[in-house]
Structure formats: structure tokens, C-alpha cells
Symmetry: C2
Subunit: 186 residues, 2 copies
């Protein structure tokens, strides 16, 4: 069977999606190319038809994942953003990293990777920051909200007891809500 002209593009995009989920759940360094491709239903040999190296894959994953996150926080309406934040700080997000934000799952590994991957990360994070800043009209508050969301989910994922998780998530939710609603604070 022949492949359509844009099959390669489509296959690469599908690979970035499925391996992205796998890597968010299991970690990038902890997973081999073999396991990555098996999760996508292919063998490791095919990997290098789409990426020159494993680190090139990480760069593609980060770009793809952050674009999704930006789309989730794209509404300029306060009510939509409150819903997005509630979803971010939910038990479901903590329990399912494979379907969630890439930042709490992969930021530590991004910090240890090459400059080009970090550049993609920075572009995405500045895009997210600008969107939140549009809501709260204050750069300091925008960075604070981002750091809280990311930090809270990352810490919550390491807490085994439900009670500690819930206390952390609701506590941070309370403070983030205040930042989003009270426009007087600086």
C-alpha cells in the first residue's frame, strides 16, 4: 500500500500526541524509544523516520502541549477562566497527568534539556502569561497564578493521602480566586 503525500505529517502529529501523553505520565528520561513507539502501536525503527533524536521529540511534545494549554486559557471572560482554573486544580487533573498540562509533569526535565527545547518552552510560557495578564491586568499577579497552579499540581501528585491533596488544592484555589477577582490588589 502507498502512503498519501501528507501521511508523514499526519503520522508525526499523531506520534507527538500519543507519545506526549505517555511521557507526561511516565517521565521523559524514564521511557525508552521502544516503549514510546509501542504505545503508539509502532516499532522503534520507525521513530527515526520522524525525529532525528529523542530530544527532538521532547521539543515537539513541549510545543504541541503548550499550544493546547494556551487554547484552554484563551477566553478573556472571567467566568471561563475560573472554570479553567477549577479544572486545573481538580483531583482529576492530579490523577491523570497523561491528559493534563505538560508543565508540572515535564518542567524539571525541560530545565535539564537543550537550549532549543527551552526556547520553545519559554515561548509557550510567555504566551500563557500574556493571556492571564490580560485577565488580571497585572504581570506580577499573572506570574503568581501560573506558579501556583503548576506548583500545586506537581506537589499534589506526590502526596499519597487524599486529605492532604484536598487541603492543598482547595487552599491554592482560594488564593488564586482572590487574585483573579480582586482587581484592587497589587
Amino acid at each position: 500500500m502507498r502512503y498519501s503525500p501528507d501521511h508523514k505529517q499526519g503520522a508525526r502529529a499523531r506520534l507527538v500526541d500519543t507519545t506526549g501523553a505517555h511521557v507526561k505520565k511516565n517521565g521523559f528520561a524514564a521511557t525508552g524509544v521502544d516503549g514510546l513507539m509501542a504505545a503508539a502501536g509502532l516499532t522503534s525503527g520507525a521513530f527515526y523516520s520522524h525525529f532525528r533524536s529523542k530530544s527532538e521529540l521532547l521539543e515537539a511534545i513541549i510545543g504541541n502541549e503548550l499550544q493546547r494549554s494556551i487554547a484552554l486559557f484563551s477566553s478573556p471572560v472571567l467566568e471561563d477562566s475560573l472554570l479553567a482554573v477549577e479544572g486545573y486544580l481538580s483531583q482529576a487533573h492530579v490523577d491523570h497527568p497523561e491528559a493534563g498540562c505538560a508543565v508540572p509533569a515535564l518542567a524539571a526535565e525541560i530545565a535539564r534539556s537543550g537550549l532549543s527545547t527551552q526556547q520553545v518552552f519559554e515561548d509557550g510560557m510567555l504566551g500563557l502569561k500574556d493571556q492571564i495578564q490580560n485577565l488580571v491586568q497585572d504581570e506580577s499577579k499573572a506570574w503568581s497564578i501560573m506558579a501556583q497552579l503548576v506548583g500545586a499540581v506537581m506537589i499534589a501528585r506526590g502526596l499519597p493521602s487524599e486529605s492532604a491533596r484536598a487541603a492543598l488544592l482547595t487552599g491554592v484555589m482560594q488564593q488564586v480566586k482572590r487574585l483573579l477577582q480582586d482587581t484592587s490588589l497589587t
Copy 2:
């Protein structure tokens, strides 16, 4: 040469220190037992005289590192805590993970490890939370401060440009300071 009765204990403690620094910088999954022991000036064979497995080492590192962090935030005086927070959100802390807090460096890998390691992590995090709560007299604010500090340092380590890093760190510093100082906010 013979070894003193408590040489084993001392050697293990030293191993937890030096491998802790190595793991915070390079990641846990990304480093082999060989490299870990080489960083400590030993060979890999000696590793299993002190730990039954690599994951037992992670557990020991987390316990050791969080005890240190708790000591750094142990003062009940507000001025001391402001200094500790400034150090946490400093360029130096972002640039030198090996000498810094284990949480932004390792939380994602803790979330993927065994229950006993997560239990040690939870104990340490609740201890830290209690100390901060003593300062701000509010559990929600304590969790919020912790999440912000951890999230900010982790994100900052992935940002290649100095300007973006500085904006993030000073922005979060401003919001954390407000939480620490303004006792009226809930």
C-alpha cells in the same frame, strides 16, 4: 585498614548527601548507579552495601533533603522568613539546583515512585506547611506560598532568557511578600 563501628552509618549519610546533590541537578531516572557512585568517589559495587535498590536511595534522599528545607524555614520571626523566601526565589537558587530545594527538582519523579517514598515526601511537605502556617496563621495562605515558591523555581529553570526569569521571580516575590505581610487577607 579496619572500619570504625559507625563508619557504615557515616558513609551512608555522606552518600545520601552527595548523591542527593547529583540527583537534584541531573534527575533521578536520568542517572545510573554508576554515575551516582562515581560522583561520590566510589564504584557501583559498593552501592548495594548501603541501599537495597535505587529506589530506596531516592527515599533516603527525599527524607534528608526535606529535613534541610524544614530547618531553613524554621524561624518563627517574619524577617527571617522574608530572607528565606528571597533566597528561595533568587537567581542563585535557580542556577544551582544541586545546592537547592529538592521539591522543584524531584517532585515529578516522586509522583511516579512508590508509596513509601511518597509517604516520606508527604511527611516533609506537611511539616513545611505547618511552619509556614505558623507565620501566616492561615492554612490556605501557607499552601499558596509553598506552591508559588516551588512552581516559580521549577518554571524559571526552564526559561533560557534572563529577562523572563527575572520577571517571573520578582513577580512571584511581590505576591508572596504580600501574603506574608498582610495578615488581613483570607
